[in-house]
Symmetry: C2
Subunit: 419 residues, 2 copies
């Protein structure tokens, strides 16, 4: 039995990601392939690099894509920046901090973590104290962790890292494109992301940007043979423990020398290029503002439905909210009803939040009024079906008010002003 | 300056890959996204696994995709099957053998290679002798190496490996879908591929199949913490040195437990599913036959143009031919003329063949008569322009004869009969 062509059901993806992609991103992936060294391909790669310099707010020459999901970008950054035995500091405020620590452990780093409660972020002073104590070569810090919805402030961290001679890496997968990001002004040495959140594309390509300082570290890593020869023993040798994620080789592939490495995932490159193009065409500040308004509207909507919100709302990402499941409502059955009866997906939760909250996203293409209001109307209906007492129409009205206010005075709530 | 939507030039990709994708594969990537745990997604993943069991000729439950290019699949297989210090034997007959050896070195294996001249393959007896001498835990052997166009016979290798207690892995990136492959009958423990060759899709997803024996080895690998605890030292510990390519975790993600790992590259999954679907709809044997005929026609065509062919033609892959650049013809300028004036891409070469041969592919969607005849007509024109003496129309006629003969008696040249 050979199945028919792929034919997905209509879905409005309002979870913590992946989300419904921009239609033009889906179309871009249907463009015909070209050869890896076709002048058109080389130009498309260069255009993509320049577009992502705009997305990341950076002048970093080393701004490119890793061919893998966002997790692939994380691994490329950590494996390439960390030598076996190096100390790495990972402040953990959710699930993805644990992932960074695990990846650094597999890279044979000496990993030190500090933790804060889920729903909180770290003050810069706490991170600095840990840096002074641990003396790491790399600080690996998540910006937005969808598991808790928190957005770790990064503004002051780069200066601290520079002062203590520490490389500063951040995983911006969940936050980039929907929350302020300023790679150069914040002193980032490395940052990675994925397409499947605020950038509005499919998972499978990981944008990455590297400061000249990070590039220097990467280029100082040894080739395999030289590393073994110098160390006298492969297990202690200084070479990247991956060919696929060796950023030194990947930089030579994307750089002017265009040395052969992997075969670029051409259709994913087209998608990544279009994600950045869509963002910059609308305007980076306008896109951040759209996420801020849609997130504020969703927050107002769920609160007007009488639902509690998890975590420190002042430090919440714009693009996702953790909504407490009301007493007596079966969380999974309600999510299933939303999916089956309304075609709307919202997210479940991990770890300490498992069974306690739903995560509702407003990102990328779906950071828009009709998506927010439709989700709130459906959620109200489902909550009532499962016996919750909810004010009729309250969620939609409260959210619509936020959109109306934003439309009336766009400058007042413009996050771009804060950059 | 924000560039316009992606708009690639018309190209007929007749190099060693990537090649022009099947139109339906390009269309599949424009299908809307669904959530990672949507019942539709789980079903699409299961369908894809079953389709690839057909492509690989296997009953292996562990048949799935790695989210990366073909090189990602290779690295996942080697990192997950090889413990630090394990002996790995790599017979090298071209560029990709060196790649397997390099990846195994980075995995801290004790790597042993045997080499044969470019353009040759290994007799099974030579591989067995090396196995007896080296006593590896893993044999890592390329099937089709595009750098030399050779197709290493695998039929007898699995039995030899089984007899000596060696795991048998092959990289079938360049060959799968255009040359016979029989994972179970040949005793493969692991095999990986990519979409961008005979499967007729874009680079960026790596099909992989694992025997129950390979799964057992993978599942016996330790978790990071347990590995370090038992070894007392991370550098000697038995855990996979990658989170992204840890097949134990990836199997749990694709398996019935559906444990969270990466976010599946949904659009690439759609592409991979369609590549396999297209192949099985046409019929696996019919697709192999189509590749055999197109390859034979291209071979006859270039020979009729008076061009020499590199390597042991009896062991050539069906889907690529290495054509000697005639004395006096500037190889790169001729390739550029083909691309610029005819929109046809053929390939350059690496290593010892650099500057000596062009590589011309006939694979996937482009393993068809009009693509072969058009390429030969254009090649004749370009050769003449650069002063080569070529018989007028000879290449096209010779190739057309092969297609005519195949159409007249399809069974006679049916490679499926040899399976």
């Amino acid at each position: 039995m050979i199945p028919g062509p792929i034919d997905p059901p209509a879905r409005l993806l309002m979870g913590p990601g992946p989300i419904s992609a921009y239609p033009s991103v889906l179309r871009a992936m249907s463009a015909p392939l070209v050869g890896q060294y076709d002048p058109f391909m080389t130009a498309a790669m260069a255009e993509t690099q320049e577009l992502y310099r705009g997305v990341w707010n950076t002048r970093n020459e080393a701004t490119l894509l890793v061919d893998g999901t966002s997790r692939g970008g994380i691994e490329a950054a950590i494996l390439s920046l960390v030598r076996p035995g190096d100390r790495v500091l990972v402040p953990v405020f959710g699930r993805f901090g644990h992932l960074l620590a695990e990846i650094a452990e597999r890279a044979l780093a000496e990993v030190h973590t500090i933790e804060t409660d889920w729903g909180q972020v770290f003050p810069a002073s706490v991170i600095e104290e840990a840096i002074v104590r641990v003396k790491p070569t790399l600080l690996a810090l998540v910006q937005g962790d969808t598991s808790t919805t928190m957005n770790q402030p990064l503004e002051d961290i780069g200066e601290i890292c520079r002062r203590h001679g520490v490389l500063f890496y951040t995983d911006a997968t969940a936050s980039l494109g929907g929350n302020a990001f300023d790679a150069d002004a914040w002193g980032l040495d490395a940052a990675t992301a994925g397409l499947q959140k605020c950038l509005g594309g499919p998972s499978g390509s990981s944008p990455i940007t590297l400061s000249p300082r990070a590039v220097e570290v990467i280029q100082s890593r040894k080739k395999v043979e030289a590393g073994i020869r110098e160390a006298g023993d492969a297990s202690a040798a200084d070479f990247v423990r991956s060919n696929y994620f060796d950023l030194g080789q990947i930089l030579d592939y994307w750089g002017p020398r265009r040395l052969n490495h992997h075969t670029e995932a051409t259709s994913m490159l087209y998608a990544a290029r279009e994600c950045a193009r869509v963002m910059l065409l609308e305007g980076r500040d306008a896109v951040l503002e759209r996420h801020a308004v849609a997130g504020a509207a969703m927050l107002a909507g769920v609160q007007a439905l009488g639902l509690g919100v998890f975590g420190d709302v002042a430090h919440k990402m714009t693009n996702v909210v953790a909504v407490e499941i009301p007493e007596g409502v079966p969380g999974d059955a309600a999510r299933t009803a939303l999916l089956e009866d309304f075609g709307i997906e919202i997210g479940t939760s991990f770890g300490p939040l498992h069974g306690r909250v739903w995560r509702i996203g407003t990102m990328g293409y779906n950071a828009r009024k009709d998506a927010v209001l439709t989700t709130l109307a459906a959620l109200e209906s489902v909550l009532r079906r499962f016996g919750a007492s909810v004010p009729a129409g309250g969620g939609v009205e409260a959210a619509a008010d936020v959109f109306r206010a934003a439309a009336a005075s766009p400058a007042a709530s413009d996050p771009a002003g804060a950059l």
